[in-house]
């Protein structure tokens, strides 16, 4: 077993876990201004208050894991997207503190709600644009970023940014459908339909753009025999999309959230197929960027022992706060 491949999957898992878990709470932040002030907002906030910190820890694992397993990728991508990363971090500062601060200062609750919204939006947009900047390729020479500090800003990265915002909004709204009831839930159903449309349109646009952008990407997707395997991803996406709209129409409560997760999983799989085996397209493969075997093996022991425990107590924490917020609240 190639340790580097194993680590590529571990990092991908951490990124996926982050994207779907922080995705729904960033999504609630993005939708926050549309939720009614008072009970609606308070309940939306309460539905994620006990778990948001754990969700965000996956982002630290993604960053820390990248530094540990693929230090060259970490050292190239972060300077290449410097303004985006700084914007994301500051966005996360604002929306993170809002969880506590809005309860400590009734007079400025409006301000902290705004901070929660703007911080979530900026963080989501930045994350999507970092992803886009990675896929469109990063200029590297002599183990260092060699481009200018605005290279990341292109129409393509704007699309991936918006796609991420829409996707998070979809996760956030379907989470609210699951965890809330009454008027807020009704509102969430309306939001979810719109967010689903936006997400799917942007996913399609990004996919077409990918094919047009690089010959290598086109070859990966469209040549035989690749197309036989790769085409399963858009086909499945279509099926999931239909199921999602049906579940929303039938007023199902849990299914829309799970189907949105599946959409994200397919999106990630698509991106993986696109860039594999590069970690920083076009030139750095996972093996170029890999840390030595001793580093990867040492960490793999840690992951093998800690990850099942982490998943277990995280699941327990979600279980403790199960059920609707509002029918049997948290006390």
């Amino acid at each position: 077993m190639d340790l580097t491949v194993a680590w590529a999957f571990i990092i991908a898992f951490a990124v996926f876990a982050y994207v779907v878990m922080d995705g729904f709470d960033l999504g609630i932040g993005i939708l926050f201004p549309t939720v009614t002030v008072g009970h609606g907002r308070n309940r939306a906030m309460n539905s994620i208050a006990p778990v948001w910190d754990g969700n965000e820890t996956w982002l630290v694992l993604g960053g820390g894991g990248l530094l540990a397993a693929f230090p060259l990728a970490y050292a190239v991508v972060l300077p290449a997207t410097y303004p985006l990363i700084i914007a994301m971090l500051l966005g996360l500062v604002f929306r993170g503190v809002a969880f506590e601060f809005r309860w400590r200062d009734e007079r400025h609750r409006g301000f902290w709600d705004l901070a929660f919204f703007a911080g979530s939006l900026v963080a989501a947009m930045s994350q999507g644009m970092v992803l886009g900047a990675l896929i469109q390729g990063i200029e590297v020479s002599d183990r260092a970023y060699a481009g200018s500090w605005w290279d990341w800003l292109t129409p393509y990265t704007l699309l991936t940014g918006l796609g991420t915002v829409a996707g998070y909004a979809l996760l956030g709204s379907t989470w609210m459908i699951w965890k809330l009831s009454g008027e807020v839930q009704e509102h969430a159903y309306r939001l979810a339909t719109r967010a689903a449309v936006a997400t799917l349109v942007l996913m399609a646009l990004v996919s077409v753009y990918n094919l047009a952008m690089l010959d290598a990407y086109r070859a990966r997707w469209l040549e035989m025999p690749n197309i036989l395997f790769a085409s399963q991803v858009p086909l499945l996406t279509l099926i999931i999309a239909v199921a999602l709209f049906q579940s929303l129409r039938k007023r199902r409560e849990l299914a829309p959230f799970l189907l949105s997760l599946a959409l994200f999983l397919l999106g990630m799989a698509g991106l993986g197929i696109t860039i594999w085996p590069n970690v920083v397209p076009p030139g750095i493969t996972i093996w170029d960027a890999a840390a030595p075997e001793r580093s990867q093996a040492f960490m793999l022991v840690g992951v093998a022992i800690a990850m099942p425990l982490i998943l277990a107590y995280t699941a327990w924490a979600y279980w403790v706060f199960r059920g609707k917020v509002g029918t049997d609240g948290y006390h």
Binding site: G64, A68, P79, I86, P292, T327, G329
Partner: protein, 478 residues
């Protein structure tokens, strides 16, 4: 290689963000343990007073912890954004240690924090106490790993150097983790966090005692904090001394800067108490010194020779002025803490611990002292490490990302504005919570007037329930 201005800006940005960040964990490490003790005492004795105190400090903990989290995420990415060359070269060695911090500490804290803050009535007392213990344990494990990383940068060990300049792990990870300065730095830093928290708790107790001497909650807080000061402050001074001796062995130039020893002293070095170091002239002006005392402290022999910075090449010397002063601030505060501890013992023996306004005023003045000492100590050790990121092996000047100065200047400006505004507000909220004092039947973050969970589906009758209500007492009394 970035130009000089970009390098300086990157250093200022890192110093700024890490100093701000460090304030919060140095408080939450101690506070998590204090909360564990309070909840444990409540479970053991069943006294409402401990539960009130627990809930009071839990609300403060929540605000401090959230600021530690968001400022900490910044740190985990700043290695890559601003110190890319360092990350690429040292990543194979320090990266796994930081990954272990995430796996064994951050998830533990975050996973159980929700239950600790909001889950008392959902999981029962025993499990809730277990969650509190896990959060406290998480803060300690986090300190363990990140201080191991920091210590490795100070006293690198167990590495090999690859052809491309990367540091690679040697055969033993234990040699890397338990590098020579790590055990001392860990003990000294964690103890500092406990002392910092003790003086904050003592200050809050003192503030309320000054307003009402019979306040039972304030008495308990003040008494517990002063026990900590009396017992832990002397321990910390001994630990600091041992840590200093370890630094002398592995990073002598840092100790020379701390002591202000520009010249070598072949037969006994003086202890310079105060003075103004002048690096250009290579002397300490207006020095007030005790002859031979430095050799006595560092070598346990008044006549032992001590080398000075004149033995270190110019380009390898740390900046003396900052290190010299920050060290004195830290030591001065340490001695003042010792004084507080002794004073409180005296007052306690005379039975006047709660009736001595002067003592309470002093405790109030000293309440933020721990933070100043922690930052000063941090500056001493980090600036004293210069001009290296990996001591003796990799220079700070060759560690930075290839970023243009305007990019770093903009981000630095943004960090300064946002941190002062956001964390300023957070500190204000904490002070307001502290000033409010502990109520009998104190509400938790899950049930308080302003608690995040209160509004979740409550009936009008329950809405009337606020702090001090009989309902919340009945619900939670053991």
């Amino acid at each position: 290689m970035p130009d000089l201005d970009a390098l300086l800006l990157a250093r200022i940005q890192f110093a700024f963000t890490v100093s701000f960040h460090f304030i919060f964990p140095s408080f939450s490490i101690g506070l998590a343990s204090y909360l564990m003790v309070l909840e444990g005492l409540w479970l053991k004795t069943g006294r409402q007073r401990y539960l009130d105190l627990f809930r009071f400090w839990l609300k403060i903990f929540a605000v401090a912890f959230v600021m530690g989290v968001v400022s900490g995420i910044v740190m985990s990415y700043e290695f890559g954004t601003n110190w890319a060359v360092f990350s690429d070269r040292a990543g194979p060695v320090i990266g796994p240690l930081m990954a272990y911090e995430v796996l064994t500490a951050f998830f533990l804290e975050a996973g159980f924090l929700g239950v600790m803050l909001f889950g008392m009535n959902r999981v029962g007392k025993g499990l809730h106490f277990a969650a509190t213990c896990m959060v406290a344990l998480g803060t300690f494990i986090s300190a363990f790993w990140i201080l191991s990383v920091n210590s490795w940068m100070q006293t690198p060990a167990g590495y090999e150097i690859a052809a491309n300049g990367q540091f690679l792990p040697g055969p033993s990870w234990l040699a890397i983790i338990f590098n020579p300065s790590f055990p001392f730095r860990l003990l000294h830093t964690v103890t500092a966090a406990y002392l910092t928290t003790a003086f904050v708790v003592g200050g809050v107790g003192a503030w309320h005692l000054l307003r009402n001497r019979t306040d039972r909650h304030a008495r308990t807080m003040f008494s517990m904090a002063m026990w900590m000061a009396a017992i832990v402050a002397p321990v910390q001074i001994v630990l600091g001394d041992i840590h200093g001796l370890n630094t002398l062995e592995h990073q002598p130039a840092k100790v020379m800067a701390m002591e202000g020893h520009f010249q070598s002293h072949p037969d006994g070095a003086p202890l310079i108490l105060f003075g103004i170091p002048d690096s250009e002239a290579g002397t300490v002006r207006f020095a007030v010194e005790i002859p031979k005392a430095s050799s006595l402290i560092l070598k346990h022999d008044p006549d032992a020779p001590l080398a000075g910075l004149d033995t270190v090449p110019q380009q390898d010397r740390p900046p003396v002025g900052i290190v010299f002063w920050s060290f004195r601030i830290m030591v001065g505060i340490g001695l003042a803490m010792l004084g507080m501890g002794l004073w409180s013992l005296l007052a306690r023996m005379r039975g006047r611990l709660y009736d001595s306004p002067l003592l309470h005023r002093a405790a109030l003045v000293m309440s933020p002292a721990g933070f100043v000492a922690v930052i000063a100590g941090w500056i001493t050790t980090e600036v004293g490490r210069q001009p290296w990121t990996v001591y003796g092996l990799m220079r700070t000047a060759e560690s930075a990302s290839p970023l243009a100065a305007p990019a770093v200047a903009s981000s630095l400006a943004a960090f300064v504005v946002v941190y002062f505004a956001v964390f300023g507000a957070g500190v204000w909220y904490i002070l307001r919570l502290m000033a409010g004092g502990v109520q009998s039947g104190e509400s938790g973050p899950d049930a308080g007037v302003a608690g995040p969970i209160r509004t979740a589906g409550i009936t009008p009758a329950a809405q009337a329930t606020s702090s001090g209500s009989p309902r919340s007492e009945q619900e939670v009394a053991p």
